[in-house]
């Protein structure tokens, strides 16, 4: 088994505020939103093997996502055409010290429209308060 395919030993959390800003900003019936909702159900259901990848602490274009990992959406797909979207999570700590993967961004990995922000740019803005 690919070591990156195992289940992470910490909980994944989708907080209401982040979910609203990242996913519920989209039309309720849009295919993009439907895919995000489906992926979340799969993650929370625990039935899917998750292909986690580490984000770049110092990436191209000034995108800095230290402490973050990602999943391609739809889950289980790899190429940009098969999995055009992504979730980004930050490792966070609850007041009682419990570690969790906190969802921080959803969006396109490689948008065709050059004006559209990538999921990585959205995650950077969530972390740093401004786009790179």
């Amino acid at each position: 088994m690919n070591p990156s395919s195992r289940t992470l030993p910490v909980t994944v959390r989708f907080e209401r505020k982040e979910w609203h800003e990242e996913v519920e900003r989209l039309d309720k019936h849009s295919p993009t939103r439907v895919r995000a909702e489906s992926a979340r159900r799969e993650i929370e259901g625990g039935a899917t093997t998750l292909d986690w990848k580490k984000c770049e602490a110092k990436g191209e274009g000034g995108i800095n996502l230290p402490g973050c990992v990602k999943l391609y959406v739809p889950l289980g797909r790899q190429g940009a055409s098969e999995a055009p979207f992504g979730f980004v999570f930050q490792l966070a700590q609850d007041p009682d010290g419990t570690l969790l993967w906190n969802f921080i961004a959803f969006g396109e990995r490689h948008p065709e429209n050059p004006r559209t922000r990538t999921v990585y740019e959205r995650a950077h803005k969530r972390l740093h308060g401004r786009y790179p």
Binding site: K54, G67, Q90
Partner: protein, 72 residues
């Protein structure tokens, strides 16, 4: 009848409210400005919840064998 454009003197980071909805002024990637629904900074959200980013050591321990893809 010609439409007269309203000129707005806005800066990156400012919030505007249109028809009851709030938007943030952000760069549009082509040298101009645009508005979009705001993205709340994680620091504010964590402060409200009593949360904080985990230590780098914890992150490295949990993701030591996780690949990167060079995308971001």
């Amino acid at each position: 009848m010609a439409t007269v454009a309203r000129k707005l003197d806005l800066r990156v980071g400012e919030l505007v409210e249109i028809d009851g909805r709030r938007y943030e002024v952000v760069p549009d990637k082509t040298g101009g400005l645009t508005i979009e629904p705001p993205i709340a900074p994680i620091s504010e959200l964590y402060e409200n919840r009593g949360m904080k980013p985990a230590a780098l050591e914890d992150f490295e321990r949990l993701t030591a064998d996780y690949p990167t893809d060079g995308e971001g």
